[in-house]
Amino acid sequence: MTKADGEFVWKRKHLVGLDELTSGEIAHLLDTAESFREVSTRSIKKVPALRGKVVGLLFFEDSTRTRMSFELAASRLSADTVLFTAKGSSVAKGETTLDTCRNIEAMGVDIFVIRHGQAGAPHMLARNLSASVVNAGDGSHEHPTQALLDIFTIRRRLGRVESVKVAIVGDIAHSRVARSNILGLRKLGAEVVVVGPPTLVPSAIAAMGCRISHDLDEVVGDVDVVNMLRVQFERFSSTLFPSVREYSRLYGMDAERLARCRPDVLIMHPGPINRGMELTSEVADGPNSCILQQVANGLAVRMAVLYLVSQGTE
């Protein structure tokens, strides 16, 4: 068991966002996820890496796939999980987020996976708890594991991330998936263009190093990947675009628009899909779509994240 010299060593105890990760750390995470893919192919899909550890899944906001993905990732690492959802809990009785978490931590939780409606909630908890904190989505801020699994999927399908051209389409303003994707993709040297109606694309987003376009047809012929974001009706009340029909005509992906893309273009979507809005069923279930691969890869990425933060000290 001799270790190769000069190897990269992971030190972080928390994963609160891609903003603070270096490109080396992101690459290390993706490389580790690659190793975890193999575990899911075994007849016994379990390794004892986190045996005896407890992962607390704290979902102050609704989630299906992210929660299940983290839950399954934890159990494949032999960790125990406790689940907390805000509905019908002490939050309804007026307890603060930090108090809730401190109480759960007192029961012996080693890693918190947290989704919260408030941007920065995981950062606040990381500073105040002694357990590890993994951000599973905070408000409109970041969703690092989603971006990591998107980038992981791109890397697996295209063999690289550097200089890959990615279009992120839709509701950029309210999307934590967009923010984390832009951060991660830019750090790894990809080119990013964000596309959407002016009401949903803040001009300040250009400061993150991406191009802005309001015309999807001008963009699609030139990109390797199109990541179609979900329109998050729950995050805005006023009408930011005239109608669902107009939105899907201008910013949705249908067979006709797909025909103007490169033949090998990757169509991604973080889910859940509003079928007929962002994507027609024909595209979502077609050969260019890698939506279900994204979900499968998400498991490997989350195993890698839980494993790495459990070993981190900083």
């Binding site: 068991m1 290390h28 490389d31 190793s35 494993y307």
Partner: protein, 181 residues
């Protein structure tokens, strides 16, 4: 870093190890040779090449990364990269020759055996190591040993192999220096 064995002595140890494996396992069937990453993997590849030259029956060849199975995971600070395990065949009923470079505490081998049984139920597991340096902490001994060296308890025995290090050799490394790096 102090040299314990020269390239020539490593070649002799490898020959001795190979002869032991050959006389015991040449006719074993079905046979799988599995190396423990990183140096055990290289060692296993060298052994498989020689066995294949002398034997008509097939030999399965795999690589095991034992990181997830280590019992000191929570004691370590910072994690080096985990690499994938490559065992794309069934272990049920096979004779498995597990290969590692150095046998010290026996904890790597314990972890490797735990990992192997997650892949199936081998008929037998044999352990081959290039160097037995003593200091065993578990009731684990190697079936085939290339050479033994005496090493102080607080030092580390490192095997260098051409494929990774540009040369073959066995070295004694002061463990305190290693920690600093």
């Amino acid at each position: 870093m102090q040299r314990l064995l020269t390239a020539k002595q490593v070649a002799a140890a490898l020959n001795r190890l190979y002869r032991l494996i050959r006389s015991n396992l040449l006719d074993a069937d079905p046979l799988a040779v599995i190396g423990i990453r990183t140096r055990g993997e290289t060692l296993a590849r060298r052994i498989v090449e020689r066995l294949r030259a002398e034997r008509d029956k097939p030999i399965e060849h795999g690589v095991l990364d034992i990181t997830f199975y280590r019992d000191d995971l929570s004691l370590r600070k910072g994690m080096p990269l985990v690499r994938a395990t490559e065992i794309d065949f069934d272990l049920d009923g096979k004779v498995v020759c597990l290969v590692d470079d150095v046998l010290a505490t026996g904890r790597s081998v314990r972890a490797a055996m735990d990992a192997l049984v997650d892949f199936g139920r081998p008929r037998a597991i044999r352990l081959a190591v290039l160097i037995d340096r003593g200091g065993h902490e578990l009731p684990i001994a190697a079936d085939y040993v290339g050479d033994t060296v005496d090493a102080p308890a607080d030092a580390r025995v490192q095997v260098h192999m051409k494929e990774h290090d540009g040369h073959d050799g066995v070295f004694l490394v002061n463990s305190k220096k290693r920690k600093k790096r």
